[in-house]
């Protein structure tokens, strides 16, 4: 049963020397599994802090966050092991190959098929042939693809992405965004993106703006800006890789 994360009347503030700075107050937000969300806003508005509250990694100063599954309400701690992150700086471990980077969360969970599953995910993001390369040997776009595969390989219910295309050029940014949205949708994972990019934000089903401590729902798209044939907007190579993987595996949800 799909679940949702709900923040109810949360406020976040922190003390700085002799003053208290409030990022936002009395904020309500609900994110559903399987849906995509974009949070935009100026730097310092508290977007990353909001992401931390949603993921349960930080506690709000006031208010609370819950996980709601049907009628069952639990604390955010209960969903801790079912969330994944994607960062602007990719944060792959430099000593590990792409394959081992992707296998990392599975290995930690004691999955005996970690390597096979990691290879499948690298195929999905179009990097099947770069499995044995280390991060330093990959371009920024390729590193972010590995990061996406790593975040999704353990099938989390929610993915939190902090400026996932912030370090990439326009072409790579578009590709990565498409892969990210597609994979999350097919995996039925909720995707919450913090970004300055309106183009990236526009791909999300729900777009929120955070400014001056207020969260506003700026638009709700009826359908995410993901084309029906999700492989079309992906680069040819990636497309081919994904397509071939899909064909080989018959049905291969992202």
């Amino acid at each position: 049963m799909p679940c949702s994360i709900e923040l109810t009347r949360v406020s976040q503030s922190f003390s700085n020397a002799d003053s208290i700075i409030t990022l936002f107050e009395n904020l309500d937000l609900s994110v559903q599994q399987g849906q995509s969300y974009a949070i935009t806003g100026p730097s310092g508005a508290g977007k990353s802090s909001l992401l931390m509250l949603l993921s349960g990694l930080e506690q709000p100063t006031i208010g609370k966050g819950n996980v709601v599954t049907g009628d069952h309400i639990a604390s955010l701690d209960s969903i801790r092991s079912e969330i994944g992150f994607i960062f602007q700086q990719f944060h792959l471990l430099p000593e590990l190959t792409a394959l081992n980077n992707v296998a990392l969360p599975l290995k930690l969970r004691g999955d005996k098929n970690a390597i096979n599953k990691a290879q499948l995910w690298l195929d999905k993001v179009g990097l099947g042939d770069r499995a044995m390369h280390k991060p330093a040997q990959l371009s920024g776009g390729e590193q972010q693809r590995v990061a996406i595969a790593r975040a999704l390989v353990f099938s989390p219910k929610f993915i939190f992405a902090d400026e996932p295309t912030g370090n990439l050029d326009q072409h790579n940014a578009t590709e990565i965004a498409d892969i990210l949205f597609e994979c999350c949708q097919q995996n039925n994972a909720g995707l919450i993106i913090v970004t300055h990019s309106h183009e990236l934000a526009s791909k999300a089903k729900h777009i929120y703006g955070l400014a001056n401590g207020k969260l506003t729902n700026t638009s709700v798209t009826t359908e995410a800006h993901v084309p029906e044939n999700s492989f079309e907007n992906i680069s040819r190579d990636t497309n081919q890789a994904l397509a071939s993987t899909a064909q080989k595996k018959q049905v291969l949800p992202c």
Binding site: G84, Q88, E95, G110
Partner: protein, 831 residues
């Protein structure tokens, strides 16, 4: 250009002053500099002190010593080469008084003694202080004896008492306070007594047991002529002169060399710590240079800034080092004043500056990789922070070569140095092999299992290269620490167990044939167990491969120093039970080729001799040349009496020289008073009881304990610094790893557990490597260098394993606590 970079570098030094890696680097460099400077200052003070004493207290311009009386012709020549000559003689004898006895250096002098300097004596036992002593001209009257204060106390004698030397009686008439020619006799702590030279003749000791000493005064050219004459005509004699180093100076030089070797170990440790810190330092310097270069600065400016920052950091350390090492030097001098009376502390700025400069240059070598990488790099490379470079490995190798060269320069014992350096290399190889094997097989074996241990093994295997650097650093430090501590413990244990394992509790080191027969009879008569007897004769090496011993090597060597005195030459038809031939072939029974010898392996190595080389000995004033046919080593289990040089039994009939014996006796407590009898009858028997042996051992042990304890403290300190340095070097990586793991939905607790497991595995590899390294080093060094049998105790080894495991893990986990203070938010902020 520099007027811009200097203020900038100074500014950045203060900016980075409190950064952990800079703090650690300063610690390592300061500790090492304090150690090296203190060592140099202390040794220089001692050398200066000894030199001063040499000039003022030699009692002669030269002293000619030999085992036989000079002939009339020789005395005439000697007189021709000098202004004045005074003859003295000396023998080791046992004085007896009531039921007490004491081994003594008995000197005989005439009315013409001393030649130079002041002979100080006193009529009161209480006036042993130099200030209360009287200047005396001429030795004791016939029938009188003067004793030194320790001998008075040891025999419980008072003025006027009559004591025995053999069957002769002497009246104690004065207290001997100072003999001016004593330093020329070498450094010994034997108790002393003086009698009249005519009394010595009456005592009728065997001539070859007496050491004849001719004190000579003369001009420099006369002394030089004398030395020439001695070389040609009296090769077996020994000459000490004011121009040459005296025996104590040589003794101290060897001690200094040992300490030098110890400091090499500390340098190794510091090098490891600096190398670990350099990893982080290099990245920071690269980043800083990149920023500078991106802002239009040249590569040279970046390099200049880096060098200047390093130099300023060292410069800031120097005042601290000067003050602390000055205090340490003062403390050491105070401590040494019990051994070297009137030694005084003084500031030695020149030497201090020289030593600090040398240390700074050595640190610069360790730091070269950082600068070389900056020099070779370009802006894109700097931004990539790719520190891999061939030159880096080359420079590391250079630093290692510098260390090894310094080690060899300092050491006077090539074999020991080679073994120690070899052991370090073996340990490095062991640690690398164990790391690789443990992580590879560990990871493979646990692939099918789930859990944090397989994951840790997987991660460590993936990061094998960086992990090995950490393991090597800490492992090598642990090995050096373990070896030092084990040596200390085993030396102590050996001293304690000596009583139990030694074959006999009385050791006879010299008894002539008549005395030996008397001992045999006496032991049979009283039911005393005579354990072993081995014959020998005295031989003094004068040439090696036809080259004079003095010219053979300029390097101070233990073996050469011993060979230049009279050594005991043993003969045996077969290989003694407590020896093993390691090279060459032992002679057959009744061989006709009697001019061959077997030489102890360590001596061979130390002197660089090979089979077929020749040694020329003076034996009873005759010269004999022997060829080295074999080399032997000591093997335990069949008695402890062993000899450096052995010849075939058939050689004895060709050599006309007095024979002596070494033997060991086992005596019961109630048989001890019987020794007095024996000594009264034969005062020149050299016998030492276990009580005296253990007392000597205790004194040596106390000194060794102090030196090694101080050394161990330094090593512990540096070992901890190495651990902290390596953790500091990896902190950012660890932090990132923990953040990434938390981003997969894991809790901080999981990171902590992983950290503990990783440190446990690291500690396990380190412990196994360090213990195995120590075991190999023990096997290599113990027997040959310390005459100890290395018998590792399983319980102690297990205990050591547990201690290393827990200490390294606890220290590692504690020190890496900062890397656990991480959160996913930091990864978001890390833009």
């Amino acid at each position: 250009m520099l007027n811009l970079t200097i203020p900038l570098a100074w500014h950045y030094v203060w900016q980075e002053f409190r950064q952990p890696h800079q703090l650690l680097l300063r610690w390592v460099q300061a500790v090492l500099m304090v150690f090296i400077v203190t060592l140099s200052l202390a040794s220089n003070t001692i050398q200066t002190y000894l030199e001063g004493n040499l000039q003022n207290l030699l009692g002669a311009d030269a002293v000619l010593t030999q085992k036989a009386n000079l002939t009339k012709e020789q005395i005439t020549v000697l007189a021709g080469h000098s202004e004045n000559v005074v003859k003295t003689s000396q023998i080791d004898a046992t004085l007896t008084f009531n039921t007490k006895w004491q081994r003594t250096k008995l000197k005989a002098v005439g009315r013409d003694y001393p030649l130079q300097g002041q002979l100080l004596t006193s009529t009161s036992v209480l006036a042993s202080n130099d200030n209360l002593a009287e200047v005396t001209h001429g030795g004791p009257k016939l029938g009188n004896i003067w004793l030194d204060s320790r001998l008075f106390a040891s025999l419980s004698a008072v003025m006027g008492d009559v004591i025995n030397v053999g069957e002769h009686r002497f009246v104690v008439s004065r207290l001997l306070v100072h003999e001016p020619d004593r330093l020329m006799e070498g450094h010994n702590v034997a108790m002393r007594a003086i009698i009249n030279i005519e009394d010595m003749e009456k005592l009728a000791f065997a001539a070859d047991l007496i050491q004849y000493r001719y004190l000579v005064s003369g001009t420099k050219s006369q002394i030089n002529q004398l030395m020439q004459w001695q070389k040609q005509s009296l090769p077996a004699a020994k000459i000490h002169h004011k121009q040459g180093a005296h025996p104590l100076a040589l003794f101290w030089q060897r001690t200094e060399n040992f300490l030098g070797l110890a400091s090499i170990i500390l340098f190794f440790m510091a090098a490891i710590a600096i190398e670990q810190l350099a990893q982080l330092h290099l990245k920071k310097e690269q980043f800083f240079s990149a920023i500078c270069m991106s802002l239009g600065a040249s590569k040279v400016t970046g390099l200049q800034l880096s060098i200047l920052k390093w130099f300023f950091n060292i410069l800031l350390l120097i005042p601290v080092v000067v003050v602390i090492s000055g205090i340490c030097h003062w403390l050491v001098v105070n401590w040494l004043s019990t051994t070297f009376p009137a030694i005084s502390w003084q500031l030695e700025a020149g030497l201090m500056a020289k030593t600090i400069t040398t240390s700074v240059l050595l640190f610069a070598v360790f730091h070269t990789p950082v600068w070389l990488t900056l020099w070779q790099t370009s802006v894109p490379k700097l931004f990539q922070q790719n520190r891999k470079s061939i030159s880096l490995g080359l420079v590391k190798l250079c630093a290692l070569v510098v260390l090894v060269l310094v080690a060899f320069k300092y050491s006077d014992n090539g074999l020991l140095t080679l073994m120690l350096v070899g052991s370090i290399f073996i340990t490095i190889l062991l640690l690398v092999a164990i790391s690789w094997a443990a992580l590879t097989f560990g990871e493979k074996a646990t692939q099918r299992f789930s859990g944090l241990i397989p994951f840790s093994l997987f991660m460590m295997k993936q990061r094998l290269l960086s992990k090995s650097t950490q393991i090597l650093g800490i492992g090598l430090s642990t090995f050096l620490l373990l070896f030092t501590l084990m040596l200390l413990r085993d030396l102590g244990d050996t001293m304690v167990s000596y009583q139990r394992t030694h074959d006999g509790n009385v050791m006879i080191s010299q008894a002539d044939q008549q005395q030996m027969n008397a001992i045999k009879e006496w032991s049979m008569q009283h039911g005393i167990d005579l354990r072993q007897t081995k014959p020998y004769l005295y031989a003094k090496a004068v040439k090696i491969n036809d080259q004079a011993l003095d010219d053979f090597s300029q390097k101070p060597s233990d073996s050469l120093a011993t060979l230049s005195r009279s050594i005991r030459l043993h003969w045996s038809q077969t290989v003694p039970d407590n020896n093993r031939v390691v090279q060459g072939k032992w002679w057959s029974k009744d061989t006709d080729k009697w001019q061959q010898i077997s030489l102890e392996e360590e001596v061979m190595t130390d002197l660089g001799l090979t089979l077929g080389d020749t040694l020329t000995f003076i034996i009873n004033q005759q010269s004999f040349t022997f060829t080295i046919a074999a080399s032997h080593v000591y093997q335990p289990g069949a008695g402890s009496i062993t000899f450096w040089v052995q010849m075939p039994a058939t050689a004895v009939k060709h050599i006309n020289a007095p024979h002596y014996n070494m033997a060991s006796l086992e005596m019961d407590d109630d048989q001890w008073p019987l020794l007095g009898q024996m000594w009264r009858q034969y005062p020149t028997i050299r016998m030492v009881s276990l009580g005296e042996l253990t007392k000597q051992f205790d004194n040596i042990l106390a000194m060794i304990t102090k030196v090694i304890s101080g050394f161990a403290v330094m090593i512990i300190f540096l070992a901890v610094t190495v651990i902290l340095s390596s953790i500091n070097a990896f902190e950012n990586k660890e932090k990132k790893k923990n953040c990434v793991i938390m981003s997969f939905g894991f809790l901080k607790k999981t990171c902590w557990q992983l950290n503990v497991i990783e440190w446990l595995i690291t500690a396990f590899i380190i412990a196994i490597g360090a213990i195995a390294g120590t075991y190999i080093t023990g096997m290599l060094i113990y027997q040959s260098q310390f005459s100890l049998v290395y018998q590792p105790n399983v319980t102690v080894l297990c205990l050591t394993l547990v201690v290393i495991l827990s200490t390294v893990t606890l220290l590692g986990v504690y020190a890496s606590r900062h890397s656990l203070k991480s959160s996913v938010k930091q990864l978001m902020a890390d833009v």
